[in-house]
Amino acid sequence: MPEAMRIRAVEKDGVVDARVQIRHDMESGSRKNDAGELIPAWYITQFTVEVEGREVFNAQLGPGVSRNPLLHFRFKDGLKGQAIVARWEDSRGETREDRGVIE
């Protein structure tokens, strides 16, 4: 079971400043283990964020995004107390969904 994301979203003057910390190794496929064998690529490919059923942010990630991706973005029309839902899917088809609340 992949680890939970940490979601922090703060509304100020009509703009929500959001940071989502994902836990994922984001293996590039070009690293070797101690035995000298290539570690297979394994990384998040899709990331999306919704507020009240409305998609506010979407990213397609490749293995060039660092381990434990931290994504920072901003959107309007989010209100304090609304739920913010983040989801990802990785290159093995694993998925994870977590919720936060706009502060």
Partner: protein, 133 residues
């Protein structure tokens, strides 16, 4: 587009899935139709001049263009395309993330606004490379 249209099971609707392939950056630009992207001072691409650790290089991108999407590429990474970000209506054309850089390289931001491609680029020196994707 080379990646083709594939429904995303996590998300309703169709979206062009980007392929993250080991290929020259020019090839990625050509596939996007962005090889004639216009350099624009309206794109602010922030990166360190020197990155101590190529496994995590802080990148931020913001623009005053009415951007619908932005892509980030690292020319000298094995897989140059790092990510594509989509800005929904009401989402500010801003994003920050950490990226991997295998060695000294140009980093290119591509922004699509009103059906045209714009670009900004920065050169980054990498002290210790980061197996860059």
């Amino acid at each position: 587009m080379a990646a083709g249209l594939t429904p995303w099971p996590v998300q309703a609707g169709n979206r062009v899935r980007r392929a993250f392939l080991p290929e020259p950056m020019e090839r990625v630009l050509a596939d996007l139709g962005a090889d004639a992207a216009e350099p624009s001072s309206a794109i602010k691409l922030l990166l360190p001049d020197v990155a101590e650790d190529g496994t995590a290089v802080q990148m931020s991108l913001a623009t005053t263009l009415p951007a619908r999407r932005a892509l980030v590429l690292v020319r000298r990474n094995r897989i140059p395309l790092v990510a594509e970000f989509e800005f929904a209506p009401g989402t500010l054309p801003f994003v920050a993330a950490r990226i991997k850089m295998a060695e000294d390289s140009e980093v290119l931001a591509l922004v699509e606004a009103e059906g045209r491609w714009y670009s900004a680029s920065r050169q980054v020196k990498v002290t210790v490379g980061g197996c860059g994707g």
